[in-house]
Every structure is written in C-alpha cells, then in structure tokens.
Amino acid sequence: MMTSSQVALQVVQQAIAALAGWADPNNPLTSKLNFVEEYPEVTRAKEILGWKKDTEVGTLRLLFDRVNPSDELKQETSELHYHPLMPIDNDNKEYPKIPYPLNYEPQEEQKAFKEKIKKEVLESLHENWENLSLLMLILEKFGSCLSFTESDVALVDMNRATAAVAVALFDNSEAENISLIAGDLSGIQKFIYTISSDGALKSLRARSFYLELVTEEIVQQLLEELNLPRTSIIYAGGGNLYLLAAASNKTEEKVKQIQNEFNNWLINKFQHKVFLALECKTFYTNDIVNKNLSSHWNEVIHQLNKQKKRKFYEQINNLLAVRDSFGDRCRVCYRDDTTDLEQLNTEDDSILACPTCREMFQLGSQLFKTKAVVRSRHNNISSKSDADYIINNSHYFLFNQLPTQQIQNDETLFLINNWKIKDYHLPHSVPLLLGNYGQESFENQGNFIRAHELAEEAKGIKRVGYLRMDVDNLGKIFAKGLGDNHTLPRLAGLSRQMSYFFKVYLNSLAANRKDTLPENHKILTNDKNQKKFARLNLLFIYAGGDDLFVSGSWDEVVEFAFDIYQSFRAYTGHNPYITLSGGISINDVKYPIYQAASDSGESEKKAKANKRDSLCLFGEVFKWDEWLGQTNVSTDNIKVIAESKLYISKKEQLGLFGILPFVDKLFNNPDLGYPQSFIRNLLVTAEIQELALKKAKKEEINDIKYFLHLPKLAYTMSKLPQKLRSHEDFVLIRQSLMSPYNAPYFPAIATWIELLTRTQA
C-alpha cells in the first residue's frame, strides 16, 4: 500500500533530480525517474505550484527585496540582490557562514558550486535514494541558495511546499480543499522569564530549550496522528507551528484531541502558565498560490488569538475556584500547589524548588554538551543516553555524542545545529536548529559560563548585560509584505530565512566575529585587541523565530547588539521595511534575572515607541543610524535627523556624527590621554541639561536640548591640556561635539566611555 511518505519522497526525489541535473546534466538520475510513474497527488501539486516538466534550477534572487508591507511604493529604488552560491555547512567549523546577498548575479561561481554538489551529493545518492530525511537535508543544505520555478523561490521551499500539498491531497488528488493547521504556545515568556534563583542563566536556557522540545512534540504528535511526513511542516519553532494537512473531519477532530491532551499536560506541568492554541482552517487548494492565501493565514492567526483570549477568561475562573495551596512556595517559580519541594542543588545553602524547576536546573547543566536528542514513545531505547525528559508521554533522550546504534522506526533523531550529510545516514534523522551559542565556564568546564564570570570578564565596570531584540512589524511583513506574490513557497521561504538568521547565523556571528561581520561594518573594538574583539563572553538564553534574549559581559553585549543589527540589515538586503529594535539592561550580578529580563523588555518597548528601528541603551533611545553614526558627512546626507534639521535649519559638515564614532575616537585613541575629569564633566553637563529639560516649558525644549549645554562643553574642552587640544583627532572631536546636531548624543557617549573606563566594581 502506498503511504504519504512515499508521496513526499517522490517529490523530494524529483527536486533532487533537478538539483543533480543542474550540477551535472549527464548524471543518470533524471533518466532513472523517467521510468517511475508519478502519483496523481504529485502531478496535481506540481500543477498548482507551477512546477513543470522543464522547470530548471537557477540562481536565486533575494526574497527580502520583494518585501513591502506599506501601502506606498518602496521608498528607495532598491538594488537587486542575489543569494551567494554556498551550501549551509559546518563541515570544518562550528557554525555556517552567513550568506550575505550579492548585488550581482553569480555566474562564475556556478562552476565551483556545481563541482561541490557533484562531489558531496551525487556520488552518495544511490545508496540513499529512499532516505527521505537525508534527501531533505541535502535540499536544505544546497537548495537554499538556488531558485526553482520563480527567480525568488528557493528550491528547498518549492520542494517542501509541493510535498506538503501532495501529501495533503493524499488518496484524494482532486480534493477541492486543503487544511492549514496553526499552533501557538502562549505564556512562554512567563514561563521562561519569571524565575529568580541561583544559576538562573542556565535554568533560563534550559527552559527555552525545553519549550523548543515541547513545540517539536506537538508537531510530532500532529504528524503521527494525521499520518504526515515532516515535509508537511511549513514552519515550526519557538512555540509557533504551521502544517498542511488534508481537509477532513478527521483532521479537525485530531487537532482538537491533540490540543486538549496537550493543554491537560501543560496545566499540570506549568500551572496554567503555558497554553496551546491550535486551529485548523480549510480553504481552496488553489489558494495556495494566490493572494487569498494571505487572508486565510491572517484568519487562522486571528482564530489563535481568540483562543488565547478565551483561555484568559477560563483562567480567571480557575483562579477564582478554590485551589490547593500548601503555603510553602517554590523559591524559583513561586508556585504553592505542591509539597514536593527539595533543594535545587547539592550546595548547602541551596533553595527549595518544585519538581519542574529542579528538572530545568538539571537540564541546564546537561545542555552545554548535548549534541543530539532522540525522541521515542517508549523508554527503552537501544543507545545509552545521558538524560531522559518526558514531554506529554514521549521520551526525549539527550546525547553528548551522536548515538552509534540504529534508532528504531518510530523514533526520531534530532541533530543539533548539524549540517553534515554523513551524520544523516540513519533514517529519521532531522536537524534541530537552535540559536544556542554559549561561552564555556572558565571555572567549571563543560558548563555554561555563569553570571559572575560574565561580569568579571567585562571591560570597565563589572556588570552583566541583557539584550532583547526583535524584528519590527513582523506580523505586517508576513500578512502583507509579499503583496501579490503571496504564495506558499514564498511565505515558507520568508519565515525560513527569517528564522535562520536567529537560529543559525546568530550563532555564527557570536562565535566567529572576524569572518561573519558584513562588509563596511562599524565596530568599537578592533582586532588589535584580539580577545575583546572576539567578544565571546556571551550566553544566549533564547534565539529563534524573530527574536532573541542574550546575556553576556555588558561591553560585549553592547557590541553584539550593534553587530546583530548590521548583520541582519545586510542579510535582508538593507530593505528599509525590515528592521530590528532592541533594548539592553546593564546590571549587577546580584540583580534578579527576572527583573533584568523585564527591564530589557521595557527598554525594547521604548525603542519600538521611537518609531522602531531603534536601540534603547543607557536609558537613551535613538535610531540605529544615530547609534552607528557616520564620519565626514554633510547634514544634508543624514536622513535620520530630519527633525533636528527642521529646527536647527542650517547645513553643516560634520567630522563625526552620532554615538559610535565619538566613542571610537575617544576610547580607541590612547595617545589622546584625556583626563577622566573630562568625561565626568560631560556627564555633569548632561545631568544639568536633563534637569533643565524636566522643568522646561514646551517652547523651550528644543533650545535646551540642542543649545543649553554648548557653552559648558566649550569651557570643559578649553580646560584640557594643550597637547590634547592641539591633537588632530581631538580638534575633530571638539568641532563635531560643538555642533548642535550632535547635542542629543553626548550623554550616551559619555556614559558609554565612563562605564568602559570605570576601574572599581
């Protein structure tokens, strides 16, 4: 009997054949497929998606170029971008290189890439021709940078979309309707961030990893119950999931059933903190490739939000109902409905914690070494595992090394951030992509770095930094960003590439700054100071989907934020509608982490409130272009200061503009040798200005903001030693600092330098 996996396999084999045909027209695969009869589901799916017999693989245009969620035409005449021809691989390195788009179509590079495919893929295809998960990996690895059917549709996305549609038409190839299943785990933030305890950083990491597994388990159960292969997943990660399935009563029943079972388990495990909304929406199969898809998509999201709200009302009822309370609380998550409280760890002064918190603490200790996870419905798997976690009746076994024995047919092997084809020869091996970079502890090797170590490694003041960041207007980008080109393969491509940045390339950027920064980047610490340049003292708490929460030595977190912004903008082709906003909080080691999480969240909100594309740092909010600044520029050419220009109304040539260029010139210039009092005077002036602003009448605000401090600045700088004042670089600094255009920035500049140079803790 034919299975849905076979349908998917046929699509994937055809995609592989197309890839092989591009790399080597003489390869035997295409002719091999000619003798295979095509399933009617596959024929129809290909027809719907525009995949023809003669469709060829080609170079891939950057999909981000198309994104315009606004109602007007694109602001800038944007360049055309292409994907560089390179596989996603970590063969000789820990993390893949970041594929920054090219502004030309790669031609000469094709030959080498084709050779690579021939060597790494074609030769081993014969023995793996039936191995669906391995073929999928190949397509993801080599087919993410190639187009198929349309110039901006990636081969991998076309393949997945076609397979998903074909499987949804399983046994009913003429089906008029198809079903989109969408899920959303809400309350994640609550579960992850509202804890306070020792070793909290690694517990936080464990929590976000655990929720990734929970998301995966929901997907797994949907796949199992609905008899779908993994190709049916459109997107899954960070508590969100989208699947395609047959439109039928069975689908709806199973979805409801799984949702109920899961929520029962979640209530038990997380005391109503986490809730699964799961919806299923049926629509015309042909809508997969037209504009209607977007309204179906929005509809299903709307339904999910309704479910979440309803859950909120139920929760109130729940809170009103009499509930068991045993008085004593878990000191980590504050629940009081269990008497099962034990010490969190073996240290004498360890606090009492509930079973879930103890489990998360333990998981946090294991994660650093974890390379693979096996999911099984039973607890006796053949390979010896390092730990076992149960998620709604499924076992998740953690491995520090890849398991050597065959895993069983009903099991899945997840390989964490692994793109090596040779590791995927076992059937049911799938990559688990996680934004999970973490520095190793210096004191306790084999573990994540701890907060006090992060503080100690910081330059200047000994503090930990917490960064939260996410993509601006993401909902809008997905809802209407693609306009008339809103098709399933493009939508899948957009979410895949967006989440790749946070799950895959953010690791690369953290671990290998030297080789991963985009061209023309701006940085503070240059590679003369190799250790600080590398800024490795980071620990990701969560990164995926469209957002991140990262801790680290405060100075490195700040630089990482600047790197992330520049890298993301380059990665998305500098599309003016695809931006990030972020907030950083800088704290003492003892500061409760849930408070730091909430502070950096508040900062992020302030950045969003500044019309987005902004960063809030040191309590100051500016557009990224102001933080990054420019050198030797006419005010005519600085877009970001439109308001200042309107008020100041005179043109100036600025040697330095913004924040980073000043900090760079002042901080990275040891032979300037300015006295510490200079920075302190700037800070005092900033304080006076701030006070004046508080008392100011509305019509005086701009005057104070741009001018009040200038006489004091002039005086402060005149007091500096003669040698410094005549230094070429300082002349530049003085002239630029005295421009009212730079008035908003000197408090941030002074604070940054002050914190970098503070010697006592």
């Binding site: 005057d703 001018f707 200038l710 006489p711 004091k712 002039a714 005086y715 005149s718 007091k719 004042r725």
Partner: protein, 142 residues
C-alpha cells in the same frame, strides 16, 4: 547682543530664547577676549552673582515651613535678593570705569539686569553671564 537685549523684543529676560542667548554668547565671548578682558577684572561681579545664586537656592526654613504655595515661595525667596540684583550694576560700572575692556560687558549686563523681575529672569541672567564667560574662557583653549 546689546542691541537685542535693549530692544523691545522682550520685556522680561526670561523671554530671551536660550538658543539666541547661546549663539549671542558664542559671538560675544571671543569678542571680549579680543578686547583683552581678563576675568579677574570682573571677579567681584562674578562673585556677587554666585552669592545671589547660592542665596536663592538656600533652604530658607521660614519660607519652607510657611503655608505658601510653591509659586509664592519662589516669589518670597526672590524678594530677598531683588534689591541686591540692582546693586550688581554699580559693581560693573566701577570695574568698567577702571578698565576699558570691561565696558562692553558692563553695558550688556546692565541692560540685562534691567529686565530682571522674577526668579526666572534671574536664572536666565545667570545663564547669560555663565555662557559669555564660558565662551570667553574657551578662547584660551583654541
């Protein structure tokens, strides 16, 4: 600057816009430098300004503990220094009589003092002299 202050553009010094004030001081400070003004020549005047500033900001228990509204408290405090502000003018005139370089500063400040009626006006007066002196001193560092 003198022209602007003595003009009818504003009656009270607090209405001297900060931006204009700073830009004027930026031009006037170096001008004074050229005329070879030394700050010790007007030391007594600057000391007097600082004294008044301190006095104004001093916590006066009697006023603080009274039932007056915040606004009235300000007024009462200002009343205590009001007469002394007028006495600033002779101090300047005295310095100017002895030193030519002080004359133009004296003219500007006297005109400004004539427009001080409230605490807010006085605050602006302090801003004015501080800005002029700051830019004047900054000339040394150029």
């Amino acid at each position: 600057m003198l022209k602007y202050i003595t003009s009818d553009n504003f009656k009270c010094l607090k209405d001297y816009p900060i931006r204009k004030l700073v830009e004027d001081a930026e031009a006037f400070g170096p001008e004074l430098k050229k005329q070879k003004l030394e700050t010790n020549q007007i030391r007594k005047f600057l000391d007097a300004i600082n004294r008044l500033k301190a006095k104004l900001n001093q916590d006066d228990e009697e006023i603080q503990q009274s039932q007056m509204k915040e606004e009235e408290k300000e007024k009462a405090k200002f009343a205590k220094i009001k007469d002394e502000i007028v006495l600033l003018k002779p101090k300047l005139a005295y310095a100017a009589a002895r030193q030519d370089a002080v004359k133009s500063l004296s003219k500007v400040m006297s005109a400004a003092i004539d427009k001080v009626y409230t605490k807010e006006d006085f605050d602006r007066l302090v801003q004015l002299i501080e800005s002029i002196i700051a830019y004047h001193k900054a000339e040394d560092g150029k």
